[in-house]
């Protein structure tokens, strides 16, 4: 194993650069170092001007999404040795405006997320604050996979539909809506339907499936979207055929 590896970083400093450019850095190649450790080494030892987001270093916070050698990855769980002898190219996540270096603007996702009400909606008008809302393990299995989302937005970075149509509500928001729709304690499915079943909701998805490939938490947003398409289509047929009371 070579002792060092070259990391090529996509740089953009709006106050001094008119165009983005690549900077190369030589960093130690260690078995336990992820791309994020390489970037931290650059920031601490080589070039303190490098900007990027990170926090937990263990695939939970969802802050350190980047494009590593062309693929959307969490830089904390993508290891440098897998790219030896290098170079490793690190770019900001695709499909988002870049603020600086590897930092992207995430306002679009933050604005879309609450539109699908990703929280438990109570069916009771006056919920009993002391009541327990029990759930069996089987009921939890219905939504557990979708609850693993860490909002890292790698699925948006991977999605070719979002690249073409920024109005698309997107994979993570729909998967999170399904996380609550499929929860036995939730009564908000009808509230979420207007957004999910719109042209910019599930129907914008053409099932490319790259979101599920990119997802570092195995959430399978593409599967969530396909499941909701069937739910929405069934409801649309019922709306068309059945009188209001029988739906």
């Amino acid at each position: 194993m070579p002792e060092t590896i070259t990391i090529e970083v996509w740089r953009y400093r709006p106050e001094q650069d008119s165009e983005p450019a690549w900077d190369s850095y030589e960093v130690p190649l260690r078995k336990e170092w992820a791309v994020l450790d390489g970037l931290n080494h650059i920031k601490d030892q080589l070039d303190g001007t490098l900007s990027y987001r990170w926090s937990c270093r263990m695939g939970i916070c969802g802050s350190c999404g980047m494009t590593v050698n062309g693929e959307p990855k969490l830089s904390c769980s993508t290891f440098l040795t897998d790219y030896a002898p290098g170079p490793v190219r690190v770019e900001p996540m695709r499909n988002f405006p870049v603020i600086r270096d590897l930092v992207v603007e995430m306002g679009d996702f933050m604005a879309k997320l609450p539109t699908v009400k990703p929280w438990l909606v109570s069916g009771d008008d006056e919920p009993d604050e002391d009541a327990e809302y029990l759930q069996t393990p089987v009921e939890m299995d219905d939504y557990k996979r979708y609850s693993m989302c860490i909002n890292c937005m790698l699925c948006y970075s991977a999605c070719p539909v979002y690249a073409l149509d920024p109005e698309f509500i997107g994979p993570a928001a729909i998967a999170l809506a399904q996380r609550y729709n499929l929860d036995s304690r939730d009564a908000g499915a009808e509230d979420r339907r207007d957004v999910l079943a719109s042209a910019e909701g599930v129907w914008a998805c053409t099932f490319v499936g790259e979101c599920s490939v990119a997802c570092p938490k195995d959430v399978d947003p593409a599967g969530a979207i396909q499941r909701y398409k069937l739910t929405a289509a069934t409801k649309a047929v019922k709306d068309l055929l059945l009188p209001r009371g029988a739906r």
């Binding site: 539909v161 957004v195 649309a236």
Partner: protein, 118 residues
């Protein structure tokens, strides 16, 4: 962001049905009539027998259903190929008319061909 209900679920249901029906039936038909019979791997049924099978109302209905749903599957897929693959979404209305119109024309042709077998 619009929250208007979209007519898309109906197009998608027909697309899904067409994909499934075509995936189940077309490979079998191609294997039999495109490979097995021409190569003599299976003895081909004679013309009179095939004609009587095809002219049965249930066969007609199945073949017609296969043609219509497969064409609607094509229309939906080709529409999105034009939208996203060639990035022509701004011509959405004429593309939709051409794709689903084409599927309807194809269905009429299929009906005419099948009814002539009667």
């Amino acid at each position: 962001m619009t929250t208007k209900r979209s007519p898309e679920p109906f197009a998608w249901l027909l697309f899904s049905a067409g994909g499934m029906v075509a995936a189940l039936l077309v490979p079998v038909l191609l294997l039999l009539f495109g490979i097995a019979f021409p190569l003599g791997l299976l003895s081909a049924p004679d013309h009179a027998y095939l004609a009587s099978v095809v002219s049965h109302p249930i066969t007609l209905l199945v073949l017609f259903g296969l043609c219509v749903l497969a064409l609607l599957h094509w229309a939906h897929r080709f529409r999105y190929t034009l939208y996203d693959g060639l990035q022509l979404k701004k011509y959405g209305v004429p593309i939709t008319i051409c794709c689903y119109g084409g599927a309807i024309v194809g269905s009429v042709v299929a009906a005419v061909v099948l009814l002539r077998a009667l």
